[in-house]
Symmetry: C2
Subunit: 349 residues, 2 copies
């Protein structure tokens, strides 16, 4: 019945993740008697008639779609799974407080394997001061699936939605961009080498930073703390899970604005640049299309520029324009090139 | 690396779902500076230093573990997936308010298939007045996986934990028990018949009630509304997803009490009893070990008995004893038989 033999039916791979979510949820409306301030369409939902708004977000991590256990240690996977979720709360300028972990595993996994996974989860919870408060555990017919839900809180006036960017606001990004993607390229290359020659002993030391960015990212609590200290409330914010280009377009579309980014301002790590050279991947492909950096991309009012301009945690990479000016990046040679949202799409894997 | 070739490793199937969750989470403690009132171990977590406590629970539904699409229509699956989660909030004596739906699908599923699923989700959300506020959508290498998180709220003094049952409290169950299990048996039987003879046209009309209980259960909001109207706060409560016997033992263990149930008091539907006869399944096996009824099992102070005794929505089925008296049911012939927790275990599938 469900086999796609009827040619009038639509394969999901032709649609894309975001259009699909939009399509499937377009008939749902929010009940005005409930306390939902913001539902689908931002990093987290916001429930806000309560004393302090509650933020909530949920993410899937599926073996061989989101991660490859041939080079991802289970402890790192557990840690990263929590980071990915905490990042969604930070991207609202909130503080994560609790997580629920649902896990489904095939009989290929042992208790000891799950213990490793939970060690990573426990370490992440401890470091970021969040409570594990529930979840569900099940067998699966294939592989490992994690579904994590995170709750958090924020002062109402501090919440940074995707929709608040205004013309002339400055576009700011934390940390550096593209290294997680290059780490993935190195790991994939070594996996292929290993298939041909299982006895090879790869020297991964030249790629330490990129690999760590891929396997064990840190959610940017420090950036949220910095914003609080500097008394800056971003006018809009999003986390970079799917690539700078795609996230930038998300943020602009939500805010109904355009943007200009400057190539020379994009923060990139020297090791990442060297790895791009070695693997013949253009820097800007890694920076714009590579995902999983879990850095924060946000906009600030130009009047906040002085507070932030010399801070090593963040870089001003561009500014917001009118919507009809589109989404462009300006190369080192002064050319304007339209941004393309070719980021990660879990439905196209 | 992950293959279970090392014989000192522990296959998950030897452990069981609840011991596994307990084992994996035993090193996690709750951070006293956060607002977690109750974490793992009840139907929902409770976050409660907020003005009104927030309840939150999350459940997995995995194809060929929890459901079989050869006889479960996708719309019913969507509806049931929401019911299963709402039931966890009702089981805390709370009101569900929001859901997040994470969904992973293989390329066997089309857009139209997901639309059917979401129709069921939308119907459930509308009927039970909950907002869909988020979630994640991904491809999967196999099958359909749903991970649903539900949020709810309750007045602090009304929350019914599993741990509150006291000696001499009365054990009460809503609706009737065992029909969802018998519906599953009928559907499984017809599936086997269909394999042998795909042209057979089964007459399922004698099993309408049982099949509806299996495919389209309703969470017992009406029972929670009744308790409020009667001004009864249960001393403890749990929902029956894994079978009456297993849930009764959960509740008693959490409360550190024992119990006596009476066979003649267990509410069973005539169609369910007839189907048990036909399929040669003992009534009490279906009632005690069959799951997925999503009825509520709760305890009340004996002083509340008069308020509830003649209400058709609920049945008093036994009472709470001292812990050292164990967990027993009394047959129609007066024999006492120990309850066994042989309910559904998602890790043993």
């Amino acid at each position: 019945m469900l086999e796609n033999k009827n040619t009038s039916l639509t394969p999901l791979s032709t649609i894309g993740e975001f259009p699909l979510i939009k399509h499937l949820t377009k008939k749902f409306s929010l009940d005005p008697s409930l306390d939902t301030e913001c539902g689908i369409g931002d990093d987290s939902a916001v429930l806000s008639k309560r004393e302090h708004p509650t933020l909530v977000s949920s993410d899937l991590l599926i073996e061989n779609i989101h991660f490859d256990l041939s080079y991802v240690p289970l402890k790192h996977l557990g840690y990263k799974a929590i980071m990915v979720n905490l990042s969604d709360i930070f991207a609202m300028n909130g503080t994560p407080t609790q997580v629920l972990v649902n896990i489904a595993v095939s009989n290929r996994f042992t208790l000891e394997a799950l213990e490793e996974l939970y060690e990573g989860i426990a370490l992440a919870c401890k470091r970021y001061k969040v409570d594990l408060i529930g979840g569900d555990t099940s067998s699966a017919t294939k592989g490992l699936t994690l579904s994590i839900t995170v709750l958090g809180t924020a002062k109402k006036e501090n919440i940074a939605y995707r929709k608040g960017a205004k013309k002339n606001d400055l576009l700011v990004v934390s940390g550096d961009i593209g290294a997680a993607y290059m780490g993935l390229q190195v790991l994939e290359r070594e996996k292929e080498v290993f298939k041909v020659n299982p006895k090879s002993q790869p020297d991964l030391s030249p790629y330490t930073y990129c690999i760590e960015r891929q396997l064990k990212p840190e959610a940017r609590k420090d950036v949220i703390d910095l914003l609080e200290k500097l008394k800056i409330v971003p006018t809009s914010m999003i986390d970079i899970s799917d690539g700078l280009s795609s996230e930038c377009i998300h943020l602009c579309k939500s805010s109904k604005v355009g943007c200009r980014l400057y190539e020379e301002k994009i923060p990139m790590d020297p090791e990442m640049l060297r790895t791009c050279d070695e693997l013949s991947i253009p820097n800007m492909t890694a920076a714009f299309q590579g995902g999983e950096d879990y850095e924060l991309l946000f906009t600030i009012n130009p009047s906040d520029y002085e507070k932030i301009k010399d801070n090593p945690l963040v870089s001003v990479i561009g500014h917001i324009t009118d919507e009809n000016e589109g989404y462009y990046w300006v190369t080192g040679l002064g050319q304007s090139i339209e941004l393309e949202a070719q980021g990660w799409d879990a439905l196209k894997k």
